[in-house]
């Protein structure tokens, strides 16, 4: 039987752009170009490698996000995923982690899955909580923050490099995994891949399709509230000296003045 892989990918504002907040204190997605979160490229890459190893596998990429989030799906399809699901609904604007995990869980279930692959964190929210939430909601094992992952005989195995130890983890499918940026460089889409992606199916679902009430998500249904956002004041310009042979000593002088030595 075919191994059904769902990869969760997020469409995020470019981190190198001038990111800021909209008036309602949600992330402004209009003024900065968006793209497939770089950390989710690693998830797509690992899904492709797992699929290569399997006799028969099908990869669906899933995103919850605005109209433009289709760009993220296209990129993943051009890397080699087979089909895509886009969950889009005006009522989703302002949805927080708890709400997003609900939508992802419903969409993953509706798609059908043996393995869900996530990135380690989104590059905008950087919470790194969605994979755990998704596993909790789906009621399946979580095998998270992996720098190495493989699937064989209905079991997923991986290595987790933690703060105090490196762990070897194992779980039966179905399961949710997340992979780190140490898991292996993501491939670039080939020209052939980009052309092929144009013909791959992208299914759109809204909240009704997923049987989610609009008050469970969006700004209204959010479980957290942002009361204020202020731009961090620019750091006051520091002293910059050119090393003329005494640079190390000058630096020591500065550090002594600040009581570090």
């Amino acid at each position: 039987m075919s191994l059904r892989i769902v990869v969760c990918v997020k469409y995020v504002p470019d981190a190198t752009g001038d990111r800021h907040f909209a008036e309602d204190l949600t992330v402004d997605r209009d003024d900065v170009d968006g793209l497939l979160s770089e950390l989710d490229e690693y998830a797509v890459e690992q899904a492709l490698r797992i699929a290569d190893e399997a006799d028969d596998a099908e990869i669906t990429v899933l995103t919850v996000g605005p109209e433009d989030a289709k760009d993220a799906l296209r990129k993943a399809l051009s890397m080699g995923a087979d089909k895509a699901v886009h969950v889009e609904d005006d009522d989703l604007h302002g949805t927080d982690a708890l709400g997003t995990s609900l939508v992802l869980a419903k969409a993953v279930e509706k798609t059908g899955y043996d393995l869900v692959v996530c990135g380690m964190a989104s590059t905008d929210g950087t919470m790194g909580v969605l994979p755990a939430m998704l596993a909790e909601r789906l009621g399946v094992p979580q095998v998270s923050l992996l720098s190495e992952v493989s699937v064989a005989d209905g079991t997923v195995t991986g290595r987790r490099d933690g703060d105090t130890a490196t762990e070897q983890l194992q779980a039966r499918l179905p399961a949710v995994v997340s992979v780190t940026d140490q898991s292996g460089e993501a491939r670039y889409p080939s020209f052939k891949g980009i052309m092929a992606a144009k013909k791959k199916p992208v299914t759109s679902w809204d909240l009704e399709d997923l049987e989610i009430e609009s008050d469970e998500v969006g700004l209204e249904g959010a479980w957290t509230a942002v009361d204020g956002a202020t731009e961090r004041p620019a750091r006051t310009a520091g002293t910059i000296v050119k090393d003329e042979g005494e640079g190390g000593k000058q630096l020591a002088e500065f550090l002594a003045g600040q009581k570090f030595i």
Partner: protein, 320 residues
């Protein structure tokens, strides 16, 4: 006063510093009740009591070490049900965040991650967060359910605040899912004898400019003269010159020390994301145009192989 649950991060009974910082923050919003799990949990009680824990709930079982995350979620949920706290605080470690995430789903509560400060507010605790690579500071609160909040290291001072810290055994019955993800092997990380990166008061980091693994001792020597932790940019880590556990930045550790010294690091946005909130920033880079110089309090344009060893000698001389 309402009780606040504090999740204890410890290694075989040795409490890690971020947990003591959490107790400082917890005392601002209520009475801290610590939850300490796994081997050595009971040994954490005296230190937790010294820093304000009114009670310490402990549980030990093989499940905590043999299976990933879920047994701990079961235990924290049991503590939550026994205490009915006004908030649950976790350190922002990988494990802390994951336990917090699953607890939030189970108890139907909002979650805030990576707070850098916490105060009591009229509608519950108000968390300060630093977002978009620290370009913005936000104030948020949990608007539904019992606030579940994870806090970054170095967000508060460790304070002595003696309290009873009575040890109580926590009853935990593991859910069916607790044994879903087996830890089949565990290799503890060898200690370098240097301070923990996220906890250190001073961090000295090296980047691509260091040029090779064989040159990292230049960075380490400066770190050791200052009693500092050693960090690295992703370029240095990807090149295999330094372990990934020492990476500073978006996909590595986020640090907020009193002093951050960057040697041979350009200052890309993803690196800044992990160090921009440091109190004092110093850089040595031979390129005067490197973006890191926009952040510094003091910068030296020069060759790190000249400047850094000279600085190390000077530090040693001054410290005598």
């Amino acid at each position: 006063m309402a009780e606040v649950l504090v999740y204890v991060d410890h290694v075989d009974g040795a409490v890690r510093k971020p947990t003591l910082e959490l107790l400082t923050l917890a005392r601002r919003i209520g009475e801290p009740v610590a939850v300490s799990l796994g081997s050595g949990a009971e040994n954490t009680a005296s230190v937790l009591a010294e820093h304000g824990a009114v009670r310490v709930l402990t549980a030990d079982a093989p499940e905590f070490a043999d299976y990933l995350v879920v047994p701990k979620v079961d235990a924290v949920q049991a503590a939550y049900e026994a205490v009915s706290p006004s908030a649950v605080l976790f350190p922002s470690s990988a494990e802390g965040k994951e336990v917090a995430a699953r607890l939030a789903v189970r108890i139907g509560s909002g979650i805030i991650t990576d707070a850098v400060d916490l105060e009591a507010g009229e509608e519950g605790p108000v968390a300060t967060q630093s977002v978009f690579a620290a370009a913005f500071t936000t104030k948020s609160r949990v608007s539904r359910g019992t606030p579940v909040i994870t806090v970054k290291p170095n967000s508060a001072a460790v304070e002595a605040a003696p309290a009873a810290g009575a040890v109580e055994a926590l009853e935990v019955s593991f859910s069916e899912r607790a044994t879903g993800t087996k830890v089949v092997a565990r290799t503890p990380r060898e200690s370098t004898g240097r301070p923990e990166l996220t906890e250190a008061a001073i961090v000295v980091s090296g980047g691509r400019g260091v040029g090779g693994a064989e040159n990292f001792p230049v960075v380490e020597a400066l770190a050791d003269s200052l009693g500092a932790a050693v960090g690295a940019s992703r370029a240095a880590v990807d090149a295999g010159w330094y372990p990934h556990t020492n990476q500073v930045g978006q996909t590595g550790k986020s640090v907020s020390p009193q002093l951050y010294i960057a040697a041979g690091i350009s200052g890309a946005i993803q690196h800044r994301a992990g160090m921009q909130t440091s109190k004092t920033i110093v850089a040595v880079n031979k390129d005067a145009e490197a973006p890191i110089f926009d952040l510094v309090d003091y910068g030296v344009v020069g060759d790190l192989f000249e400047v850094v060893p000279q600085l190390t000698e000077e530090v040693k001389a001054r410290k005598g």
